[in-house]
C-alpha cells in the first residue's frame, strides 16, 4: 500500500530542530512547509472547509505536546474495561474508514498531527513504568491514529519497539490496518511488542476502509511479523452485523486462522459496530451511500449506538464458536460491551473467562 503523503506541512515554531521533524521533512521532500508561531488559524481554516475531515488529512502538523502522552483508555461508561493504556504520539489518521470515530472526535481539530517532542513522551513512559512496578501493563498507540500508518514518514515504531524490548512488565500493542511492517522486522523486540490487525471481510475493507491494506496484505504482513518472532493479535472490529454477516465473518475467521499459526496469536477481540449519535450526521454527509447506519442500531446506556443486544449476543457467540474451532486456547474478549453481554456470550464476566487473566 502507498505511504501517506500530505499536501502540505505546518511545523510549529520550536520544533524545526527536533529529530522527528527533521526525519519527516527528509522523508517528505518537495512539499510546501510553513513554520507557524500559532497553529490555531491553520486549524480554524480547516474547520471551515466543506469536508474538514478530508481536508485535515491533507495537512500534516508537526508540533509539541505538553500534556500527558499516556492515559488510561477512556473505555465507555458502564461497559467492561480491559485496563488498556493508550499512548498518543499522533492524532488523526491518513486512512479514511467510513465508520471511524475520529471523524467526530477530531471534527474541530481535523489536521493530522504528529507530536515531535518524543523525548518528553519517553520520559513520561519511563515514569509510568517505574510507578507500575509489579503490574503488567498493556499499552497501545492505536487509539487516535493507526499505529503504523505514519511509520514510513516517522519511523517512530522503531524507537518504541526497541524501548519496550528493554522492559519486562509491559507489552506494546501496535494496532493497524496497514502492512507497514518492514521497519519492525529487524528490531530487538524481545517479545514485548504485539503487532495487531483490525480485520474485516475484503468487500467491507473495499467499501469502508479507504486507504487501508487489503486483507491479503494484512495477513501477509502478519506472517512476516511472526517470522520475525513477534506475537500477533487480531481485532474483529467493527463487526457489521448486517444482513448476511454470518457468511462473510465466519469465512473471515477461517481465512485469518488458516493463514497464520494460531500459537502466535496473543489475543483476539470482537467488537460490534458502535458510534456516538453525533457521528451519524458526519457519516451521512461524507458517505451518503453508506449502509452503515441502516443496521438495527439503538442507543445504549453510554449514548453510543449499537446493534440491538440479541443480534450482538447471537453474533458474538457464533464468532467465538468459530474461533474456538481453530484455537481453543486463544484468548478472546469483547471490546466495549456490557457485563450482561459478556455473560450471555461466555457465561461469565472477564474474570471468569478462560485465558483472559493476562489481559484484564
Amino acid at each position: 500500500m502507498q505511504a501517506y503523503r500530505p499536501e502540505r506541512i505546518v511545523v510549529e515554531k520550536g520544533c524545526e530542530g527536533l529529530a522527528m521533524t527533521r526525519r519527516i521533512l527528509e522523508r517528505l521532500p518537495g512539499l510546501p512547509v510553513e513554520i507557524c508561531d500559532d497553529l490555531d488559524p491553520a486549524i480554524r481554516a480547516l474547520g471551515r472547509e466543506a469536508d474538514p475531515v478530508s481536508e485535515g488529512k491533507k495537512c500534516l502538523i508537526i508540533s509539541k505536546y505538553s500534556g500527558a502522552f499516556l492515559k488510561k483508555c477512556p473505555g465507555t461508561q458502564g461497559f467492561v474495561c480491559c485496563n488498556y493504556l493508550v499512548l498518543n504520539a499522533a492524532t488523526g489518521c491518513p486512512l479514511d474508514c467510513s465508520y471511524c470515530i475520529l471523524q467526530e472526535y477530531l471534527f474541530n481539530n481535523p489536521a493530522l498531527r504528529i507530536f515531535a517532542n518524543t523525548d518528553a513522551m519517553f520520559a513520561q513512559l519511563k515514569e509510568w513504568l517505574a510507578k507500575s512496578q509489579g503490574r503488567d501493563l498493556r499499552i497501545g498507540t492505536g487509539e487516535l491514529t493507526d499505529s503504523l500508518a505514519l511509520d514510513p514518514i516517522t519511523g517512530f515504531s522503531r524507537e518504541l519497539v526497541t524501548f519496550f524490548g528493554r522492559q519486562d512488565r509491559a507489552v506494546l500493542e501496535l494496532k493497524t490496518k496497514t502492512d507497514h511492517v518492514e521497519d519492525l522486522l529487524d528490531l530487538p523486540h524481545h517479545g514485548r511488542t504485539v503487532v495487531a490487525w483490525s480485520v474485516n471481510p475484503d468487500h467491507l475493507i473495499e467499501s469502508h476502509e479507504e486507504g487501508s491494506a487489503s486483507l491479503k496484505d494484512r495477513l501477509s504482513a502478519a506472517r512476516r511479523c511472526i517470522a520475525a518472532g513477534y506475537r500477533i493479535a487480531f481485532h474483529f472490529d467493527p463487526i457489521l452485523f448486517d444482513l448476511g454477516w454470518e457468511t462473510s465473518y465466519l469465512d473471515l475467521v477461517d481465512q485469518v486462522f488458516s493463514s497464520i499459526s494460531v500459537e502466535s496469536v496473543s489475543w483476539v477481540s470482537l467488537g460490534g459496530l458502535r458510534f456516538p449519535q453525533s457521528l451519524k450526521r458526519i457519516i451521512g454527509t461524507r458517505f451518503p451511500q453508506s449502509r452503515l447506519m441502516a443496521g438495527e442500531m439503538v442507543p445504549c446506556p453510554d449514548n453510543k449506538l449499537r446493534y440491538i443486544r440479541p443480534i450482538r449476543v447471537q453474533g458474538y457467540r457464533e464468532m467465538v464458536r468459530r474461533i474456538r474451532t481453530h484455537g481453543p486456547e486463544v484468548p478472546v474478549y469483547l471490546c466495549m460491551e456490557s457485563r450482561e453481554v459478556w455473560e450471555a456470550v461466555f457465561g461469565n464476566g472477564p474474570a471468569g473467562v478462560r485465558n483472559l487473566a493476562g489481559i484484564f
Partner: protein, 333 residues
C-alpha cells in the same frame, strides 16, 4: 463590493408602471402578499421609499420593495414614493444592494438566505469566495459546510420551501430533504398536507425514511407508498396528531423489525401473565438490559403487602420466566 449611487430624489411612481412580475432582484420568500404589511400600509402608508430601476420599455423594475409594493397595491394605493436608479448600474450590483438593504432592516429567513446564495451563483455568476465573504452579512458563518448546506436548500420543491418557513424547520432537516429526488420530495409533501410535523418530528421521520430506503435499496417515495403508511393518511376520524404518532410507529416498526417483534412478544407475554393494578412492569429500554423494571407506589403497609403478594403470585406464572429467558438469551452449554 460596488457602491451604488442613487442620484434621484423621491418621486411618486404609479404602481401600474411597475412590473410586478419582474423579480430579478427579489430577496423575500415567500413572495405572497403579506397581509400584515398590507394592513399596515392601509393604516399608515409606506414609511420607507422603495427603489426602482427604469427600464427601456418605460416600466420600472423593483430593486428594493418587493414586499412593500404588492402590499401597497393590495391596500388600494395607486402610487408609491420611490428613488430611481438609471440603467447601466449592473444587475448584480443592484441585487447586492437589495440584499444589504434587506439584511439591514430585518432578519432573513433560511430560505431567503439560501435563495440569495443560490441566485448569486446561478443568475449573477458570483464565485465561491465572493459568497463566503457575503455570508456574515446574512448572519452566516463564512464556512464552506454552511455555504453548501444553505445553497442546497434551493433544491427543495416549492411546497417544502414554504413548509420549512411556515413551520420553522431547522436548516439541517431542510438540507437533508433537499438532497432527495423531486419524486421523493413530492411523496413526503403528500404526507405533510395531512400530517403536520414540527422540526423534531420531521427530523426523526426524515432519518427513519432515509435509513429504511438505504437498507432496503428503495426510493423514499416507495417507502412512503407502503400500505401500512398510506393507511395512516386514509384513517378516518384521526386527528393530525394521531396520524403523526401512527406514522412514526409505522416507520419505527419498519426500521427496527427485530426490536419491534421482540418488544411485542414481551408485551404479549406480560399481558397474558396478567396485570397487577397500579404496578408497571417494563422491559429495559431498547432491550439492552436483562431484567424487568417494576414500579409502583403505595400509601400504606397494607397496600404494599397486597401488591407484593400479587407480584409474588405473578412471579409463579410461567410468563415472567419466559420474558426473562427472552431478555437473557440463555443458551445450553
Amino acid at each position: 463590493m460596488d457602491i451604488i449611487q442613487i442620484d434621484s430624489g423621491f418621486e411618486q411612481i404609479p404602481i401600474e408602471r411597475i412590473d410586478l412580475q419582474d423579480k430579478i432582484f427579489a430577496v423575500a420568500y415567500p413572495q405572497d402578499v403579506d397581509e400584515h404589511l398590507t394592513a399596515s400600509v392601509r393604516d399608515a402608508g409606506l414609511f420607507i421609499p422603495v427603489v426602482l430601476e427604469s427600464r427601456q420599455d418605460r416600466l420600472f423594475r423593483i430593486v428594493s420593495g418587493g414586499r412593500r409594493i404588492p402590499a401597497a397595491k393590495a391596500a388600494g394605493l395607486n402610487a408609491v414614493t420611490a428613488r430611481i436608479t438609471g440603467q447601466g448600474v449592473g444587475d448584480k450590483s443592484l441585487f447586492l444592494w437589495n440584499i444589504r438593504e434587506n439584511a439591514a432592516i430585518r432578519a432573513l429567513n433560511h430560505m431567503e438566505k439560501s435563495l440569495v446564495l443560490h441566485r448569486l451563483t446561478a443568475d449573477f455568476g458570483a464565485g465561491e469566495q465572493e459568497l463566503l465573504e457575503l455570508m456574515p452579512l446574512l448572519g452566516l458563518e463564512p464556512a464552506r459546510q454552511v455555504l453548501y448546506q444553505y445553497s442546497g436548500l434551493a433544491r427543495l420543491n416549492h411546497e417544502l420551501r414554504r413548509y420549512l418557513i411556515v413551520h420553522g424547520i431547522p436548516v439541517k432537516v431542510g438540507s437533508r430533504m433537499a438532497a432527495w429526488s423531486p419524486a421523493d420530495q413530492d411523496a413526503l409533501c403528500g404526507f405533510l398536507r395531512t400530517v403536520q410535523m414540527g422540526g423534531n418530528t420531521l427530523n426523526e421521520v426524515v432519518e427513519l425514511l432515509e435509513e429504511i430506503a438505504l437498507r432496503d435499496r428503495m426510493k423514499i417515495a416507495d417507502v412512503l407508498m407502503k400500505r401500512e403508511l398510506r393507511n395512516v393518511l386514509q384513517a378516518p376520524g384521526f386527528t393530525s396528531t394521531q396520524k403523526k404518532d401512527r406514522l412514526k410507529r409505522g416507520l419505527i416498526r419498519m426500521r427496527y423489525p427485530g426490536l419491534w417483534e421482540r418488544t411485542q412478544r414481551i408485551s404479549e407475554l406480560l399481558a397474558k401473565g396478567g396485570r397487577v393494578p397500579g404496578v408497571t412492569i417494563e422491559p429495559p429500554p431498547y432491550l439492552e438490559g436483562i431484567g424487568l423494571d417494576v414500579s409502583f407506589s403505595f400509601r400504606s403497609a397494607g397496600e404494599l403487602r397486597d401488591k407484593a403478594e400479587r407480584l409474588a403470585a405473578l412471579s409463579r406464572q410461567g410468563e415472567i420466566g419466559q420474558v426473562l429467558s427472552l431478555l437473557q438469551q440463555k443458551e445450553e452449554r
